[in-house]
């Protein structure tokens, strides 16, 4: 996706960095009277105004200001950063949904409820592909009223032009409400608009676009329709644009939340086939009435490749059900259709190739995470990340072997030796770590052995490099 024009547009995920704003007492309107109904009627303004009040009242008690401490390894060491986002209580027992980019990789989460009470929360699980995370509030030291969960609405019924409210903590100003309309119900955004932590997102969903004001800090907050149901989770906006906010549709949120509460994660199937819109190519691939999904790429060594699928095949059915994607907007749904199959099961696809209809069985694999686990290699002055299947595909690595350098600490021994972020460590002295676990083992052994020289062999783009770390364990260098 490209944009042109005088203003550079940047799609931004919307966690706010400045948490001090939240500590300052926010200027508040007078507290609500006990009898809301009476107060709302007294406020006047007709039916629409009353509907807005009622919708607000349904969601406000579930609204949460989320302040996690986020881990960041990009500087080569574990840095803790306080951020502010929004969330909404969505299930009993204090389950809160927010964005993955707010709290998905966090610790020490503090939440402020609608009644200004602060409670701690724990991370239940997160999913980068939909940018969602689930927290659970810890009520053990809390004496106030339990927040009433908000209800999910049906985002499939949303209409362009429909009035919606956005609630959350823009710039950490908690309990803020803004209003607007649904600008479009199925905005496609390329997964190349990544999360701040580098993960691809939006592969399996389109977005609700709204002109309700959404600012940094709104991330994870609810988009609410006038019946007071949560129809989306506000996640991102184009900065330097006017009123271009994007929310994850509630049908997607509901599924992900339920899976995370049940198992702590979202399980998906992967077959290694990429598809593209069929539009303008129907006649080339002999599609009847524009039906079918066009395979544009098949990863080598993937389940799709093993099943004999290749670019140019036109998928007609998956397990007997017709599939189609003429436009970009229809592609996330197709990927989701595949992802929803339990990993390890067989799917049957029918496809057209060179005019003939063929059939293949594909044994799906677990999709896996975008990013591997982070680890600070403290004494050596850098941070690494495990290599997942998705990392290897994304970075075009020829194997999943080794670990990838995510950051190099300025002034540390590895910076001096010439290690660079993105380097893939293939060899530690003469040991070949297959994964992060083995790398940690090799690291620990050398720390215990008080080694003052460690040789790393790295892959760097299309060449390699030997990097000799000069350490001084006696002085405790690097700590």
């Amino acid at each position: 996706m490209k944009f042109r024009g005088a203003t550079a547009l940047v799609l931004m995920s919307l966690a706010a960095g400045d948490v001090n704003a939240a500590r300052r007492p926010a200027p508040m309107a007078a507290p609500l009277p006990a009898s809301h109904e009476a107060a709302l009627l007294a406020a006047g303004g007709g039916d629409l105004q009353r509907q807005i009040y009622l919708a607000r009242e349904r969601v406000l008690p579930a609204l949460v200001n989320v302040q996690p401490v986020v881990r960041d390894y990009s500087s080569g060491q574990k840095e803790k950063q306080r951020v502010t986002g929004s969330g909404v209580v969505i299930r009993r027992e204090g389950y809160v949904v927010t964005n993955y980019h707010v709290a998905g990789q966090s610790e020490q989460i503090v939440c402020t409820l609608w009644n200004k009470e602060r409670v701690r929360a724990r991370l239940v699980g997160g999913d980068a592909f939909t940018d969602l995370a689930v927290l659970q509030l810890d009520f053990s030291d809390y004496r106030g009223a339990q927040p009433e969960p908000a209800k999910f609405g049906d985002s499939r019924r949303l209409q362009t032009g429909q009035l919606v409210l956005a609630m959350g903590s823009p710039f950490a100003l908690s309990r803020s409400l803004s209003s607007g309309v649904v600008s479009t119900t199925d905005r496609y955004l390329s997964a190349d608009f990544r999360l701040p932590s580098g993960e691809r997102t939006g592969l399996f969903n389109t977005w609700i676009q709204t002109d309700a004001a959404i600012n940094p800090g709104n991330s994870g907050g609810p988009l609410v329709d006038l019946s007071g149901e949560v129809v989306g989770i506000n996640s991102r906006a184009f900065v330097m644009a006017n009123s271009l906010g994007f929310s994850i549709p509630s049908t997607v949120v509901e599924e992900v939340v339920d899976q995370i509460i049940k198992t702590g994660r979202v399980e998906r199937s992967w077959i290694g086939a990429e598809v593209q819109p069929l539009q303008e190519l129907e006649d080339v691939f002999a599609s009847d009435a524009g039906q079918g999904v066009l395979v544009s790429d098949v990863e080598p060594d993937s389940p799709a490749a093993a099943a004999g699928l290749r670019a140019g095949d036109l998928l007609l059915t998956v397990d007997g059900a017709p599939v189609s994607a003429r436009f970009y907007e229809e592609i996330p749904a197709f990927y989701k259709r595949i992802a929803d199959v339990p990993p390890g099961s067989n799917i049957t696809v029918e496809f057209r190739r060179d005019g003939a209809i063929e059939r293949a069985q594909i044994a799906t694999q677990e999709y896996g995470r975008s990013n591997g686990t982070d680890f600070e290699v403290k004494e050596w002055g850098f941070a690494v990340r495990g290599i997942t299947k998705q990392t290897a595909l994304d970075q075009r690595l020829d194997s999943m072997e080794g670990v990838i350098v995510s950051g190099v600490r300025a002034g540390g021994p590895s910076e001096e030796a010439g290690l660079l972020p993105g380097d893939v460590i293939r060899l530690v002295d003469d040991l070949r770590p297959a994964d992060l676990e083995q790398f940690r083992g090799a690291y620990q052994e050398r720390i215990d052995g008080k080694k003052n020289r460690v040789m790393l062999q790295v892959r760097r783009r299309d060449s390699g490099r030997f990097v000799l770390l000069k350490l001084n364990p006696a002085k405790g260098e690097g700590s």
Partner: protein, 455 residues
Amino acid sequence: MRGWCVLTASALVVAGSTADAGPSAAFEKYRASVVAVNYYVETSIMREVREIGGRDLGLLVAPDLVLLNGSIVTSSSTGAQPHDFRVMFVDGSEADAVYVGRDEFANLAFLRLEEAVPARARPIQFGKAPKLRVGDPVFTLGLLPENLQPIVRLQAGRVVAAVDRPKPFIVTDLAVARALGGPVFTADGAFAGVLSELGEAGPSFAQSFGGDGDENAAIIIDAATVQRLTLAPPRRGQSQRAWLGITLQALDKDMAEYWGLGDNTGGIIINSVMPGSPAEQAGLREGDLVLHMNGEPVPVSEEEHVPIFVEQIGSHPVGSRLKLDVLRAGKHLEANIDLVAAPKSRLDAATYHNDEFEVTVRELVFQDYRSFDLKPDFKGALVSRVEEGGWAGVGGLESGDIIQKLDDRAITSPDDVKQVLEAAAVEKRKKLVFFVQRGGRTQFITVQPNWSGSS
């Protein structure tokens, strides 16, 4: 003709002063060898590609050869070759010239004149090169702004440093503006070499100085190098430089110590071996240490010395054999490498431009196979330029795409693309489907020409 009049006048002035040798006489001698080179080059500003005109100094080194600073050839931000070279001589007369090639180490390029040199223009004479010491006065010629006659001015300076390491070269305080590629000579007119920039002594050499921020320090490419290249000018598309096909780094003192080679004086570490290269054929592997080459120690103990080693290999003639003493896992091995010419560079790749589709494609070269991570048997043609508002651009083709198929034709070269696009023009094809690789993934792109519309 206006130029001629001015020239006559200045020739008269000079006539009075030629009696005594010295800078004036030398100026008179060298100005007959200096030319102004006009050319066109592609540049992209805010994604818009434009042709702009360029004018730089050139040096007549043989009756049909003009030498230029090599950066002119690589200056295009789109990677395209400058073209339509026109050379203006001392007497104001002009001649067409074609690009011959560029030597990447000396960063010197050559043009071949397509017309005879006028009587007043004279190639420089390679004599005995003067021995330059720090403090010696040196001179060069720089171009004057366009429309002035004569076209050159004299510039005076001194030798300010004689560098030994990582390789010997002379530094001068001569100003480089509009003077790069000019002849450097002594007060008595002896040819010392050609003016260049420290940062431009060659791409690999420059890298080792990268970030020093001293690009304006002028150096002299010595007369012997200039003469050697003049006798056998590098040819475009036909590398005569030998290569090994490895990437390497210096075996520094700490590294040597780590591998138990305490008293070692240097060597190189092979950190990758390119598939299909002479090094691979000779059985070299990543991690091999090369300590001796043809019986001589490899004196590379600092990263800055690596380019010198690379240049050394490059200076061996193609077809000769290198004997390397290799240390692998503590054991000494001998590797014999038959040197072959380095693969064609991007600059030398064959290209094809189609005006109707407003797209330029070029041949895939070895470098592309490495940077795009392509399998050795991969075939295609690389899109090097697309006009954003042209048919191909509107269809979604982007520069950097590698065309693998075009309609039903498998694409292996720019010529294949040419044949399909030309056939499409004859048949007035309504739609063309490009199957391309972009960012490691493939996709189909539909291009719909508008044959009836005005272009």
